[in-house]
Homo-oligomer: 480 residues x 2
């Protein structure tokens, strides 16, 4: 039996789900989001739900290997087969070299595993322009895939000169090894001002990715087809958490997931997050899914200096599972290897699109995703509601179920994290990421029930270790 579930995003007031004309109302999702595109009052999100198949293990009714197709239909894998490695390494040594910065290597990692499918390497100019102007790429068949961030490699005049008329170059990691070949290259102008303005919607100084990556970069971009010589490893003790989209898809199959809901984060998990993730699972069960799996998916690449480092966050996430706040049986914790842009509505599309490629068919989006404070003005850089609105309208994301959520806050009466109730607003306390970090830095305890004690302890220890360091070794603290 195959049952089609249509989600009427047009009536976002509550997330109504129509299954065989039976309406299941999920009242806990965000009540503020507007209808999907203005012109669309029709059902726009469709997922195929096959409840019988889970119980039926006969070979004729196998679990589908994928709940959602990767963009472009095929998951891109740019790591060269082992049989060809020696000859490619030999070839790479003979090519002009392009030196990668640490964050360039993070993008090589991301590209190599197909998070960016259908991209086959750093963008050439026609991909760059489509990304910059339309946040999408057109496929041969005329369909669009989402591609909101320019995924590009910059080089300087000197490197361009050295490349000369060569068609291919070798990419050299910061540690000195050749890690990849970029083939059939195209070199084009890197107009930094335009790239920054169109990606962030501001050119104000102080954007972390701009300061770290773009400002120091060269005035040329180099695109081409990427061949990665061997899988990228970080050797930081966390590589086992760096599951590729292919590995994640296999794991969802192994667990016989019939729905996967992804949660992107770059902060420690507090009980508000947990409430929301557990609530989402409950709602999916109510919709008729039998085995929804949570992909708890912390971002593992570049983050700004005052964010909590990855190793600390991973330890904190482990404690949250150990303490039983999230159920390990229905949760997969893995690292999303992308760097952060802090580009709000533009970046949240990338976060969602990459999870399509990893096999997640539901994506949870909250207030001000990928946002930060304006670097020079006293306000949020983005309207906190724009992220989920833009996400719900973005070309190429139609096949993904977007789950906006209501804000969770600390209920001072119930003494726990709860969905914010505007009728008794003054009984709620909002604890931002900045506030949470300030508590931990000052060794103050947050209110009871804000975070499980094991998780909180990890943060306290981290900030103690920072304070034990010489001031010069401490990360700079941004004004967020």
């Amino acid at each position: 039996m195959s049952l089609t579930i249509k989600v009427h995003i047009a009536s976002y007031l509550n997330l109504d789900l129509h299954a065989n004309n039976k309406v299941v109302t999920c009242a806990n999702y965000n009540t503020k989001i507007r209808p999907r595109p203005i012109y669309s009052s029709n059902p726009v999100i469709i997922t195929t739900f096959k409840p019988k198949m889970l119980a039926d293990h006969s070979p004729s009714a196998p679990i589908r290997s994928s709940l959602i197709d990767p963009d472009g239909g095929t998951l891109v894998d740019l790591v060269v087969p082992e049989t060809q490695r020696a000859s490619k390494v030999f070839e790479a040594e003979s090519l002009p070299k392009v030196q990668l910065a640490k964050i360039d290597l993070e993008w090589v990692h991301v590209l190599s595993e197909g998070w960016t499918s259908p991209l086959k390497g750093f963008m050439r100019e026609n991909e760059y322009l489509q990304s910059l102007h339309f946040n999408s790429l057109r496929m041969k068949d005329g369909s669009l895939v989402n591609m909101s961030l320019p995924i590009v490699l910059a080089i300087d005049d000197e490197t361009k000169g050295r490349i000369g008329s060569s068609s291919h170059v070798a990419l050299v990691a910061p540690h000195g090894d050749c890690v990849a070949i970029l083939r059939s290259i195209e070199i084009y102008k890197h107009n930094k001002e335009e790239r920054i303005a169109r990606t962030w919607g501001t050119t104000a100084p102080g954007l972390p990715y701009v300061d770290e990556v773009i400002t120091p970069a060269g005035n040329w971009l180099i695109g081409g087809d990427l061949e990665v010589l061997k899988p990228i490893k970080h050797n930081d003790g966390l590589d086992n958490y760096r599951l590729s989209p292919k590995q994640l898809r296999r794991e969802f199959d192994r667990r016989k997931a019939d729905a996967v809901f992804a949660f992107q984060l770059r902060n420690p998990v507090h009980n508000g997050h947990a409430l929301l993730m557990n609530d989402t699972r409950k709602r999916l069960l109510e919709m008729g899914y039998k085995n929804p799996i949570l992909l708890l998916h912390p971002l593992g690449g570049f983050t700004k200096a005052d964010d909590v480092p990855l190793d600390v966050r991973m330890e904190q996430h482990s404690k949250v599972l150990e303490d039983g706040v999230l159920d390990p049986e229905t949760t997969i914790v893995a690292i999303f290897p992308s760097p952060m842009h802090y580009a709000g509505p533009t970046e949240v599309q990338w976060h969602a699109k990459a999870r399509i490629n990893a096999g997640a068919n539901f994506y949870i989006v909250g207030r001000d995703p990928a946002g930060m404070s304006h670097p020079t003005e006293k306000r949020d850089l983005y309207d906190p509601d724009h992220g989920k609105k833009v996400l719900s309208m973005a070309p190429g994301l139609e096949k993904l179920n977007i789950l906006p959520f209501r804000v969770a806050a600390y209920d001072t009466v119930e003494k726990k994290m709860a969905f914010f109730d505007p009728t008794r607003a003054n009984e709620f306390l909002f604890i931002s990421g900045t506030k949470m970090r300030t508590y931990a830095r000052n060794r103050e305890n947050p209110p009871d029930g804000f975070m499980c004690p094991g998780g909180w302890n990890v943060l306290v220890k981290y900030y103690e270790s920072l304070q034990a360091q010489e001031p010069s070794q401490r990360p700079a603290v941004f004004s967020t």
Copy 2:
């Protein structure tokens, strides 16, 4: 007989046209433009060519009323029927008033006649966000129409306060008359910095539209459904040239056009432009079209202070037709009522999209369309090739035939404007709009054959009249 012509934009090197497997090569078009979207090597532009129908006047084979459908399928007309006018005027008087600036009224004009189809009024937030992030709007059926510029109306805090909880407002022209009702309004934040950055790709001070319109505007945008009380007239002696999309479509039918090629301009027509327009007509005839009509379509709304004013340009264009440089039999001169943004690749999409709505199925695009000098740096604001590249890839413009052209320059050997030949580059002289204006301003003659004498004389007289004015009355001259 119906014959399908497929234009292989992928091989842009020459504009190859395949008609029943016979390849017609149009070598005079631009040789630099890259393939359409990266993923598309297939034919992407298709137009249906019906040569027999022109000769056949039997009722069973009428001339099609339209060569290209308006965006959204139906041409929007927001002027209220005369029978309802009195009651609407009466209602408008009772509504909260929103005062329009001159350029706001230009947009009311543009919206009212359906240049912006399928828009039915100033953008609400979901349209604004789609325009800003994706340069397109999604329709009910999932298809996209192009919409690259935010077409919005700003109000200040005081006006927002006066509107209160009213659902509708009346729009008041600078001369004091109520000209329209905006219904079912939505008021949302006007983040000027983000709007400017995403539209222009810079936030540098000195962008003419920003200085004139956005900086002085309020911090709120008001969207809604527009009802225009009567057709907008300028009463400047040029209203007869302001043909609406409906009137243009009728005129193309009356002339039995089987192809319409639009040429957008905001400068006087020199012989290089004429060469290109005449050459395009020749190519269309070679393709098999029997009656291609040129829409010479000067922009009539706001332009920057050092551009030549509309009335002078219209007089100059008349002389060009009188002098026989362009053929009046196959040319329609009309005014495009939109204001200029000078937003390069973003704006050229608007220029092309509006001409779809006016019934043109071919659009000519040149070097650096809608571009200008960077307001604070010594360089072009946009890469001169980006306009035509972005246009060829823009969502929602697939049905329009984009005709990029080679640069025309003054051939000092042949003593005429000719397509630039890079093999004898030093025999060509480039005369930019700025240079042309400088010649005229300084009463110097341009080289023989640059412009027809009648047309040149109009410009000389205009600059003489400027110099006769008090310095304080002269328009400010930008650094372009």
